[in-house]
């Protein structure tokens, strides 16, 4: 991978892999999905009745509409791009491990994100494989989502 061809959204404020250490904690922002968003996301990507049919969902196991797992992960991604990936010299995600849908994300319930750096492994070609743990919690402090993610971040040029 030739980092010299990379465009330059990166500047003096960019977080490079060299700036990261295991144990670093990033408190992310919060997000409140609306009922309309839960249903429209699911209609496009995850059209199961407990995500799109209010009446059936109320009679079902969860007692109301719940957001899909991919929607829940998308909310974590949005929060983590805003406060971490988008501020870093991020090259690409390699993969995601151990995604747990602990408690459903629900309409009109705010969730807040947290990201912890677990490992920074410097590699060849000016990049490092950075492993992080991410989570979402709801207003009561209960865990909604947890996952681990591995991504390549450039080293300081």
């Amino acid at each position: 991978m030739d980092l010299s061809t990379h465009p330059d959204p990166w500047d003096d404020t960019t977080i490079y892999a060299d700036d990261l250490s295991a144990g670093d904690v990033y408190e992310l922002g919060s997000y409140t999905p609306t009922r309309e968003e839960v249903m429209s996301f699911a209609e496009a990507w995850d059209p199961q009745f407990f995500h799109i049919d209010q009446g059936a969902a109320e009679r079902g196991l969860f007692g109301g509409l719940i957001a899909g797992g991919i929607h829940t992960m998308a909310v974590f991604q949005r929060l983590s791009v805003a406060d971490f990936w988008g501020k870093s010299a991020t090259i690409a995600a390699r993969g995601i491990r151990d995604v747990r849908f602990i408690k459903p994300m629900r309409p009109d319930i705010t969730v807040a994100g947290r990201l912890v750096v677990d490992e920074v492994a410097h590699r060849a070609a000016g990049r490092s494989l950075v492993s992080v743990s991410g989570s979402l919690r709801d207003e009561s402090g209960a865990s909604v989502l947890s996952l681990s993610l591995d991504a390549y971040i450039a080293r300081r040029p």
Copy 2:
């Protein structure tokens, strides 16, 4: 979990956990993301320049716009709901393991999905934990995405 409260989208054609065995293969449909969709999905959920800025993406490492990892997973979810989860007595996903973004999903390149049942573990309360492997391949047959997913599916009442 009281399955008796479950609504009844399930009928004689529903796939219950009892109907599944390790090794069962479901060839899913295909999907072609447009450039507009790649950018609009990313603007909402994953606004990194290589997903939303055509010019910067062309000058960057991937030589053009690539879809986000969550968008790629959403396409797999859409295909697997259409041909598997939506036809089964699906209760909820528990988690996802070992997501690998092997090759970027790109605008106007068709991907096709496949789902293989890895394990069916019958549990209490009329449900089973079903583990599957999923993948997307592009038109050239190259792997784009692989993952494993665990979900609860009801047993035949």
